[in-house]
């Protein structure tokens, strides 16, 4: 299963798992990045990091380090 930092711009899918048991993963989940949630990778910043995803109807900027903790299933 790919993680959020490995997929191409424009990909759509849903979140399958948030790895890690730290406050980062807890914060991600509070922001609505939870299992089963559909998302779209909207853009990558010009210098390659961070990413812009659409989730829960809003746009979230997330760095690749954190994105690598988020496993996704593409549709």
């Amino acid at each position: 299963m790919p993680s959020l930092d490995q997929i191409a711009v424009g990909s759509k899918g849903f979140i399958t798992q948030i790895e890690g048991e730290d406050s980062t993963s807890q914060r991600l989940m509070e922001m609505g990045v939870i299992e089963g949630e559909p998302f779209e990778l909207l853009a990558v910043a010009p210098m390659g990091d961070p990413l812009e995803i659409k989730i829960q109807g809003y746009r979230l900027s997330i760095r690749k380090t954190e994105a690598s903790q988020v496993l996704v299933q593409l549709t």
Partner: protein
């Protein structure tokens, strides 16, 4: 009796909401400008407290900083949570919570609301951006949702003053109505464990031992609250908490994800019958704009264009206003000189007080322009995109994209630059940015560079040389600031900060009212809190340069100067007086320290005297090189500097050569000779520790760099 009466006439509300929901706008709209910053020890963010009177009742509002969740992970967030739960000893517990939610993104906004529901306090829910939600095709049946949750829900548009009356009357009724919403359901075993902890909390904290607090203790990852509980209330529940967690794990509950999962599931269940989302996903206008503004080529081009405009406005548009303030100051000085006879009082008024106050007001044009720009960029939603674009670069020096604009602004002036760091949520990032902002080459360094390059590095050099020197001087800041940030972030401010998760808000037209409020607030807080301190320091510096004003023969210098027949004698007397002043003596005293930099005592004094502001050094050099106070002719100063000899002794070598001139400029590039910056750092960090630290580290850095420059330069010569 009276006191009880007046107490019941006051309703205390805490205002909660996610960032970017328009919370500050609502707070300002409710309280007008009638608010002040609360003083809670250890807090670096501003927590504002305001009040208004409605139907004979006083309503006090505590503006809790914008957050996505009430899970405390830092001392700042802990104070917010304490205030909401009524556990802060400095503040009465709130009577009710006002939660502001963005209607266009209700699911995520209600996450924080569900946490507020668990406090057991009455709740009023205000919805902002209802128009945005509608244009995105989201329909909310507010009445149905209000019935379902059992709380008043009021749509508002604070910038247009819509819904405020309804909100105010809702607040008035809140105590009587006791609108307490249901709380999210968790799996039974979680609720049981939470119940156990709550019972134990209740023994010590009574009603304040809420379901929310019990749940937080059960599910927190870093034991932050547990430790606080032991420290502040001598209540150690750690063994019970661990036991409960084991029980949850045994039932197959994931301690990390259970809270978010349960809350979001409950929110969906509540919203399902009341909110209709569009069947077909409309490609939002914001998404289309973003494709351009975050584009590899166009996005970067537009970003640099906007930065260029802002930067030019700071430099160019502020200039005439600053000149105007300077002229006004001089005019006032002239008027005072015409009215008051020569003497100490006149000197205090003109050279001390007026210079001090004028020095403060001079910053206003830049603050107004910068904060005007920032308010527009922030309110229309571009600020987050700027941070998005620049994040990668800033990560390299241990910061985030949000530090870019404050640092860039510091190239014009560190005072507004330091104030602009308020947009950085991460405490360590913000502090690191504040500490290095004064290293950026600000406009006050320019007169120093121009003077010394003009005097010593122009004649006899190729035409391109002065320009190259100026460029090198400016580069010192651009190179040192990121390096220093990296050093601070990997030593003093080390540690895993908060992950850089940032919402990119929907683009909208900026509201004039919001922009005006931001500018007003920035200027007012600068004038009120920093201004007095800056002016006072200026007067202090005046005093140590004025006293003692009596010569060794017991004659008063001002009288001697007044009696002296020629200008030359007057200038010589002025020099003698300044040499004899406390600051002058200090200059002599530090001469052994500055000699290895290639400076004699006169430069030492000029440097000391320029503590209030770097550009003052030009004027002070005029005095110590015997040119008198108002050396209008800079050309004359240039010549004198070129011809100056060590300690004014004709047998000594020339004072300035290339290494000593560069050493002086390097010193001014890196030092923190700027009272205003230091005072603003105090204002923003709420402690004298950080300005002291900034001054010490920058002065040491400047000294070392100047020392190396001179010594290496002399070896090469």
């Amino acid at each position: 009796m009276n006191e009880i009466n007046s107490l019941s006439k006051t309703i205390r509300i805490a205002l909660l909401g996610n960032p970017n929901t328009g919370k500050t706008t609502l707070f300002n709209a409710l309280t007008g400008l009638n608010h002040r910053v609360g003083n809670y020890p250890g807090v670096t963010v501003e927590i504002k407290k305001g009040s208004f009177i409605y139907q004979g009742k006083t309503i006090e509002i505590l503006d809790i900083p914008g957050t996505y969740s009430l899970t405390p992970r830092s001392p700042d967030e802990l104070v917010s949570v304490e205030l909401v739960l009524g556990l802060n000893p400095l503040e009465e517990p709130p009577d009710a919570l006002l939660v502001l939610a963005d209607a266009s993104n209700l699911d995520r906004n209600l996450y924080l609301a569900t946490q507020a529901f668990e406090t057991g306090l009455p709740i009023i829910l205000a919805l902002s951006m209802v128009d945005l939600a509608e244009s995105a095709g989201i329909k909310i049946d507010i009445l149905a949702l209000s019935l379902k949750l059992g709380i008043p829900i009021i749509p508002i548009h604070a910038a247009k003053r819509k819904g405020l009356e309804e909100l105010k009357s809702g607040i008035i009724l809140i105590k009587a109505k006791k609108c307490i919403p249901p709380i999210p359901t968790f799996p039974q075993v979680v609720e049981d464990c939470r119940g156990l902890i709550r019972t134990q909390l209740g023994v010590k904290l009574g009603d304040k031992g809420s379901v929310f607090l019990a749940g937080r203790l059960l599910l927190e990852t870093d034991e932050f609250l547990s430790k606080q509980l032991i420290q502040k209330f001598f209540l150690d529940l750690s063994s019970l908490i661990l036991e409960c967690r084991e029980k949850l794990k045994a039932s197959g509950i994931n301690l990390i994800s259970i809270e978010a999962k349960s809350r979001y599931a409950w929110i969906r269940e509540m919203l399902a019958p009341c909110v209709r989302k569009p069947d077909k996903k409309l490609v939002a206008w914001t998404d289309r704009v973003d494709r351009v503004l975050t584009h590899k080529v166009w996005g970067m081009f537009l970003f640099f264009l906007i930065m260029f405009l802002m930067f030019n406005a700071l430099f160019i548009a502020a200039k005439p206003l600053m000149d105007l303030i300077g002229d006004g100051k001089n005019y006032l000085g002239q008027s005072v000189e015409n009215i008051i006879p020569e003497g100490m009082l006149r000197s205090l008024l003109v050279d001390g007080l007026l210079e001090g106050v004028g020095g403060v007001v001079t910053f206003l044009p830049q603050i107004i322009i910068l904060f005007g720009f920032l308010a527009v960029l922030e309110d229309c939603g571009y600020m987050a995109r700027a941070a998005f674009l620049m994040d990668r670069v800033m990560v390299k020096c241990g910061l985030s994209g949000k530090s870019f604009i404050p640092l860039l602004s510091s190239v014009a002036c560190a005072v507004p630059g330091v104030m602009a760091t308020r947009v950085i949520e991460d405490k360590k990032d913000r502090l690191a940015t504040i500490l290095v902002a004064p290293l950026m080459s600000c406009s006050a360094r320019l007169p120093v560079y121009v003077l010394f390059i003009g005097a010593l590095l122009t004649d006899g050099y190729p035409m391109w040389f002065p320009g190259l020197m100026l460029f090198c001087m400016y580069s010192i800041g651009f190179v040192t600031a990121p390096l220093a940030a990296l050093v601070f972030k990997s030593t003093l401010l080390k540690g895993k900060g908060t992950p850089f998760l940032m919402e990119l808000p929907v683009y909208k037209r900026p509201s004039f009212r919001v922009i005006f409020a931001r500018i007003y607030e920035a200027s007012f807080s600068f004038l009120k809190r920093a201004g007095t301190m800056i002016a006072a320091t200026m007067v202090l510096i005046w005093a140590v340069l004025y006293f003692p004003s009596v010569s060794s023969l017991g004659e008063s210098y001002p009288d001697l100067i007044a009696k002296a027949p020629t200008q030359e004698q007057q200038d010589a007397l002025l020099l003698e007086w300044k040499k004899n002043s406390y600051l002058g003596r200090a200059g002599h005293w530090i001469e052994p320290a500055v000699k290895p930099l290639g400076w004699d005592w006169r430069i030492g004094v000029a440097t000391l005297a320029s503590f209030p502001a770097r550009e003052v050094v030009v004027g002070t050099l005029g005095i110590v090189f015997g040119l008198g106070k108002d050396s209008k002719d800079e050309r004359q100063l240039l010549e004198i500097l070129q011809k100056a000899r060590w300690n004014d002794d004709p047998n000594q070598p020339l004072l300035f050569n290339v290494p000593s001139a560069i050493s002086l400029m390097v010193f001014f590039a890196l030092c923190c000779q700027c009272v205003s910056t230091l005072v603003v750092i105090k204002q923003e960090t709420r402690t004298w520790f950080w300005p002291t630290f900034t001054f010490v580290y920058m002065t040491s850095l400047a000294y070392l760099a100047a020392l190396v420059t001179y010594q290496v330069g002399m070896l090469l010569l």
